[in-house]
């Protein structure tokens, strides 16, 4: 059996000292509340308009109960015979906490690193009609971070009466986040040609000034700028990266709309308004019936036209 280290013992002692301090703090809070709110005491007269709960406000009562439970729990944990078990559980809890936060911190650090990399690229030299250096890693990293660190909390199993609705709301939040991320990436990509063209034009003007070879007509600059911008867009819009980002954005928009409609349908269910789903069912039936009637009419006409 391994002996606990001195550092571990010190940590235990300081934890229990803190717990005793916390008990004192919450007991004091409870006492102050009782003294400063005489109307809330059990023996105080009932307030006619108050949201009464055996002579006490419901909110206060809930607070008081909560504080009492907390102090009891802390007192129980600080008892000599429970200290060992509480200490072990806390170690496990802190280990778990540190593992979770450790993973998240690592991912956050990675994301931060990517962000810094992207920022450092601003102002770097750019080549005309070349999109090899598009830096989309920042979006990829934020997506990975979202998938690994945030998304999972949305899909924690929902319990109880509202489970069905909560699940749909969680899906809606998730789909919105995904679409927002895709849309941001698309907008970012869409502005790359503008940024690139401006930088190249700026370099051109610099070069013209340097070589003392200037265009007299300002309109000629615009013509060159728009031509270059068009060229950059043509190059970008045909690229595989753009096609993929566009596809992802459209797909995620469709999924977001679907999940939004599901939530709205749930809300509308309790209101006497037909939902799109209800109407779609009716439209489908109408479509099928019309088709059958037309076919029957055609067959009837054929029969009537027979000699």
């Amino acid at each position: 059996m391994t002996q606990p280290s001195n550092a571990g013992k010190e940590s235990e002692l300081s934890t229990f000292s803190w717990l005793e301090l916390a008990t004192g703090f919450w007991e004091e809070i409870s006492r102050i509340l009782n003294e400063t709110q005489p109307a809330l005491n059990d023996d105080a007269p009932l307030s006619p308009d108050a949201n009464s709960f055996n002579g006490k406000f419901r909110t206060y009562k809930t607070w008081e109960t909560g504080i009492k439970n907390l102090t009891s729990l802390i007192q129980m944990m600080t008892r000599q015979e429970n200290q060992k078990a509480a200490s072990d559980s806390m170690v496990t809890f802190f280990e778990l906490l540190s593992q979770v936060t450790g993973d998240s911190s690592e991912n956050l650090l990675e994301f931060q690193k990517q962000l810094l990399n992207s920022i450092s690229k601003i102002g770097e030299h750019t080549k005309a009609y070349n999109f090899d250096d598009i830096d989309q890693h920042i979006f990829e990293s934020s997506r990975k971070l979202y998938d690994s660190e945030f998304k999972k909390y949305l899909y924690v199993p929902k319990l109880g009466l509202s489970r069905f609705h909560l699940e749909r709301i969680a899906v809606l939040i998730d789909k919105f986040n995904i679409h927002y991320s895709d849309l941001s990436e698309l907008i970012y990509l869409f502005f790359v040609p503008l940024e690139k063209t401006s930088r190249i034009m700026h370099a051109k003007i610099d070069s013209m000034i340097k070589h003392k070879d200037f265009v007299e007509n300002p309109g000629a600059f615009y013509n060159e700028w728009i031509k270059m911008l068009e060229g950059h867009y043509m190059k970008l819009l045909q690229s595989g990266e753009y096609t993929e980002v566009l596809k992802n954005t459209i797909d995620s928009l469709a999924e977001y709309r679907k999940s939004k409609d599901e939530v709205i349908c749930q809300i509308l269910k309790d209101i006497p308004i037909p939902t799109n789903k209800d109407m779609d069912d009716v439209y489908k039936e109408l479509y099928m019936v019309k088709k059958q009637v037309k076919e029957l009419a055609r067959q009837l006409e054929q029969i009537n036209n027979r000699p």
């Binding site: 003392k212 200037f214 007299e216 300002p218 911008l229 928009l253 709309r257 679907k258 439209y283 088709k291």
Partner: protein, 361 residues
């Protein structure tokens, strides 16, 4: 002393001149924009002779009929047929009427959510067939001439293959039939579009979303340069009127029924079934060899939506021996509205149809 190579004086002079011109232009533009502008589109007189659900059939009567067989024009489900009659003196309909053509044109209307289940088959074997039969009955003719525009042309190809006995001559304009090409952004993007998912979430494919897609095909020209051009000419009443007419047409986009959109993307753009004779409509295979009537096929060399590669294969795949390809040095819309094409496009159609008319009146 030599003149300096950076003509700062000239640059400043030009800038000052530009500023002065812009100021005068804005002053005049206020007058132009606040006075009465004639910006109506589709002004040629017509009569609605048939309606079915949201679909209407417009009949344009010429002063003198020179071609006995009427011409049915089928526009795409994207944007509206008003493009063929944008303004007087720049109207395909007007030119065809002047050439003595008796014209019928389908107005697909604005599909609502209830139309989302309508398939290509419902459009081709339903609406188009009913209209063709209506015209045949009205004129007591076994066949009529058919002309299709873009996606409407694809419908015409399908219809002519499924009902060849009802079509005398087939005119295709900027009609995509071969989708196995990476020329044109639309081909690239559509192959990556999940049409099923879009259909499920939107019901119908929203016209505004499609328009946004078209703008994104050339954002520098369509979202910036076009309006810079407008700013430069907004003191010119005629320019403003024409510009507004075009804007009215471009941003008048009905939604496309979801089932049709899905079928068009999946079977045509993704699987390219039509040109391979593998497309199935309402349980029947579309066999292009059954298109035995004369075929006239127009397309634009610089069409960025339906590139020549998408259009030119059809004349080699049909069963007809009387086919002709005509390629204009223009884009997707220029073929109908550019001044140069106005002089050639509609007159060529009228001439070609008259050549194949048994009874020229």
């Amino acid at each position: 002393m030599d003149r300096p190579r950076i003509p700062v004086d000239l640059i400043l002079k030009n800038l000052a001149q530009e500023h002065k011109t812009a100021k005068t232009r804005i002053k005049k533009a206020v007058d132009v924009l606040t006075n009465n502008l004639e910006t109506s589109i589709s002004t040629t007189a017509y009569e609605v002779v048939y309606t079915e659900d949201r679909v209407k059939l417009k009949h344009y009567k010429p002063e003198h009929i020179e071609c006995k067989t009427p011409l049915l024009i089928i526009y795409a489900l994207i944007n509206r047929e008003t493009m063929l009659d944008l303004q007087p003196n720049r109207s395909v309909v007007e030119t065809l009427l002047k050439k003595g053509m008796d014209i019928f044109m389908i107005d697909w209307g604005y599909p609502s959510r209830k139309d989302q289940y309508l398939t290509i088959g419902d459009h081709v074997n339903g609406y188009i067939n009913n209209i063709v039969e209506f015209i045949c009955k009205k004129y007591n003719l076994p066949k009529i001439n058919l002309m299709g525009i873009c996606m409407g042309g694809t419908f015409c190809v399908i219809y002519s293959a499924l009902h060849p006995e009802k079509i005398k001559n087939l005119v295709l304009t900027v009609t995509p039939t071969n989708f196995d090409t990476d020329k044109g952004l639309l081909n690239i993007w559509m192959k990556n579009t999940d049409a099923d998912q879009l259909g499920e979430s939107y019901g119908n494919m929203p016209g505004d979303l499609m328009n946004l897609g078209f703008l994104l095909l050339n954002p520098a020209r369509l979202m910036i340069d076009k309006y810079v051009g407008f700013f430069k000419n907004m003191d010119n009443k005629q320019f403003v009127e024409n510009f507004v007419r075009m804007e009215k047409w471009i941003f008048d986009s009905p939604d496309v029924p979801a089932a049709t959109f899905k079928q068009f993307i999946n079977d045509c753009y993704k699987k390219n079934l039509l040109i391979q004779n593998k497309l199935e409509i309402d349980g029947t295979m579309v066999d292009l060899k059954k298109i035995t009537m004369p075929v006239l096929n127009f397309y634009g060399k610089y069409d960025h939506l339906v590139p020549p590669e998408s259009c030119e294969l059809i004349t080699h795949k049909v069963g007809s021996t009387d086919t002709r390809d005509v390629c204009f040095n223009t884009g997707h819309i220029g073929i109908y509205v550019s001044s140069k094409c106005q002089k050639e496009f509609a007159p060529q159609i009228a001439g070609w149809l008259k050549e194949r008319e048994d009874n020229i009146l």
